[in-house]
């Protein structure tokens, strides 16, 4: 065991995956020599050479599109979009190809690739550096969308993503890249993709979150001692672990979904719909969402309005509990 941040855990996952499997290559803008603007890939080029770890031109379509070709031809590329806001020029490749190669070729080709991208606000960043674009990736069939919230999961999910036979979009909650440490195994391990984690068991209400928001939810719990909430860390946004969610709702009858993505047509809507479909008559109150507003996430001097903090979570939770069944 060793004490690691999420950033270090991801770095270790990449390192151990590359060590074990020669077909893993890692690249993107500033990913090679410098080790990434967040230093997530630090040390890898030195260890594995410029062939397997390299810097690219500023060309997201090329980064994603070349990974398609590499996957077809025997490699397992792990590419980085420098920020999720800059993944959009590569979005055509993701939707048109990454998500579809298996189906298009009826299984002849499949793409064991990972697209990493730091995402989310709360880091006082420039425009396009704070986006939460889960919906854009979760809505597309053929993709998996994974988001860790702890160092343990970060390493295990990343290793699972690299070993997955399907393409995985891996969003990294950059706000908590270095926020805290956790003791995690030094040896390689996987955390299963497609399974949510019960971060805390409880009976009164279910709270669903992922990424940096899981911690905020946990902090909020300290402000509502009297509420016995079950916290689900979704971990895989798509394909979603509906079963775990439904089981929890059947127990608690109430649900609050917390995410930073824009509210309308956002991820919470899908969760609510699945709950409606499978546990409607168990609901004791209307499912609630606490999300980013439907406005462009503000620059730092206005960001505090947008960012969801524990106080707000506690407030919504109390309101939700106050609704009578």
């Amino acid at each position: 065991m060793a004490v690691k941040t999420i950033l270090q855990a991801i770095n270790e996952a990449l390192d151990q995956s590359m060590e074990k499997d020669d077909s893993v290559v890692v690249y993107g803008e500033d990913v090679g020599h410098e080790g990434g603007v967040f230093r997530t890939t630090a040390g890898l080029q030195k260890k594995y050479g410029e062939g397997r770890v390299f810097d690219t031109p500023i060309a997201e379509a090329a980064i994603v599109g070349s990974a398609v070709g590499m996957s077809v031809n025997g490699l397992k590329p792990v590419v980085e979009m420098q920020f999720s806001g800059f993944s959009l020029p590569g979005y055509n490749q993701v939707v048109a190809h990454v998500a579809r190669f298996r189906n298009r070729s009826r299984g002849k080709y499949h793409l064991p690739m990972v697209v990493r991208m730091p995402y989310g606000g709360g880091v006082r960043a420039l425009e396009h550096h704070s986006e939460s674009l889960e919906t854009l990736y979760a809505h597309i069939p053929g993709l998996k969308l994974v988001i860790p919230s702890t160092p343990y999961d970060a390493k295990g999910l990343m290793m699972a993503a690299i070993n997955d036979a399907d393409p995985v979009i891996f969003m990294e909650p950059k706000r908590i890249y270095r926020a805290f440490k956790q003791d995690i195994p030094e040896e390689p391990y996987e955390v299963e993709i497609g399974k949510a984690r019960i971060a805390k068991e409880g009976n009164d209400v279910t709270i669903i979150a992922w990424g940096a928001l899981v911690r905020e939810v946990e902090k909020a719990m300290k402000q509502v001692d009297d509420i016995d909430a079950e916290i689900i860390d979704l971990r895989t946004i798509s394909p979603m672990d509906t079963e775990t969610i439904i089981k929890s709702i059947k127990k608690t009858g109430r649900v609050l979904i917390v995410h930073e993505a824009y509210k309308s047509f956002g991820p919470a809507a899908e969760i609510i719909s699945r709950i409606n479909e499978e546990a409607f008559f168990y609901l004791e109150a209307a499912p609630k969402r606490l999300t980013g507003f439907d406005v462009t996430i503000p620059l730092p001097k206005g960001e505090h309005h947008f960012i969801i903090d524990p106080k707000q979570i506690a407030y919504e939770l109390k309101k939700l509990m106050a609704e009578k069944a």
Binding site: G51, A61, G74, N92, Q93, R104
Partner: protein, 361 residues
């Protein structure tokens, strides 16, 4: 040498076999094995018939859409014939001839246009990517394939096709830039057929030649008579040597013409003159190639008649099978989304099956 001699800034087009089928550049005639030449020609004949028939089937309401490549055969066959078996073919969508040469069956090809994904499941050993509809994006795939080849020292080269219109797309630019950055073994052949659907190349692309776009990537470019199979072969052969030597990608502009409509939904009379089409009819690659082979005593009119017959039969047989292929199974539209069917997809499929059962469809 070739790429110096035909530096795209000189605006000289490489031609070896003129439109009458005469050798106009003796020194440049590439050494091509007889078997290869004959495979090229036979594919061309089959491809031509298959192409024309597809359009006809579509007119009869038996085929869905089809994107004809009549007129562009030499651009494709000259290219693919110069590649190794071990190389990759990365398609746009108008490359029936290159596909057939590389081992995609006619039945598969028809099946695809017939509206069935199984038509893109080429045989295991056929190193061809499925038809790529989003313009330009295939160049990035070719670059990735070439990267893997270079990293693993497999010696494979990726040959990609794109249209004249496609060269304006950002995806083309990024793929070329990427491949150039790492000296990747990639060859891009632009089939400049003078139109992107209804839009003339000259109207929306201001570079003097498309070959000149190579300069932006610091790589060689060459403009070639795309209806001359020998010139195409030579250019790609030399480009392949470069690629194999680790010298990086090459951009080849094949000057050709689409004799038919863009697809069967298109009416070219809306945007081009018959006269222009007639001019290009004289440059038919098939006619000149045949003459060359006959002159070389590799071929005869009599053999050609036989070939026409057998090819026609092959085409009709293939289409017959396709017409019998029926609809796609429900399971098939679900089961290739992920390696394993997700619980969500299983639920969706089963609900739908239940509906079919209950409603009795």
């Amino acid at each position: 040498m070739l790429f110096k001699d035909f530096d795209p800034l000189k605006e000289e087009m490489l031609q070896i076999l003129d439109q009458k089928g005469n050798i106009v550049n003796d020194k440049l005639v590439p050494k091509i094995k007889k078997a290869t030449l004959m495979k090229m020609y036979k594919t061309m004949v089959l491809g031509r018939i298959a192409d024309d028939k597809a359009v006809q089937f579509q007119r009869q309401g038996r085929m869905l859409t089809y994107a004809p490549n009549h007129g562009q055969e030499a651009a494709q066959l000259g290219s693919i014939a110069a590649m190794d078996d071990n190389d990759w073919l990365v398609l746009a969508f108008r490359e029936l001839n290159a596909m057939l040469y590389k081992g995609v069956t006619l039945e598969q090809s028809y099946l695809y246009w017939y509206g069935n994904e199984m038509g893109a499941k080429y045989d295991e050993d056929v190193k061809v990517l499925p038809i790529n509809v989003p313009i330009g994006s295939q160049i990035n795939h070719a670059a990735g394939i070439a990267y893997a080849s270079k990293l693993n020292k497999t010696g494979e080269v990726a040959l990609a096709f794109i249209g004249d219109g496609g060269t304006s797309h950002g995806e083309f630019h990024e793929g070329m830039s990427f491949a150039a950055a790492y000296d990747l073994p990639m060859i891009v052949v632009i089939q400049n057929n003078h139109y992107a659907i209804s839009t003339p190349r000259k109207k929306v692309i201001k570079s003097k030649t498309l070959a000149q776009k190579a300069i932006a990537y610091g790589i060689p470019g060459i403009q070639v008579d795309g209806n001359d199979p020998l010139a195409m072969y030579l250019a790609v052969e030399k480009a392949r040597e470069r690629a194999a030597n680790g010298d990086g990608p090459t951009l080849i502009e094949a000057v050709t013409y689409r004799m038919g409509p863009h697809t069967t939904s298109d009416n070219p009379k809306l945007y081009r003159e018959d006269k222009e089409v007639q001019e290009w009819a004289k440059k038919d690659p098939l006619i000149r190639f045949k003459k060359y082979l006959i002159d070389k005593k590799y071929w005869s009119n009599k053999k050609d008649e036989e070939l026409q017959e057998t090819s026609k039969k092959e085409v009709l047989d293939a289409f017959k099978k396709v017409e019998k292929s029926g609809l796609v199974d429900l399971e098939d539209i679900f089961k290739y989304t992920y390696e394993k069917l997700t619980p969500n997809l299983e639920k969706q499929m089963n609900a739908y099956k239940k509906y079919l059962d209950e409603v009795g469809e």
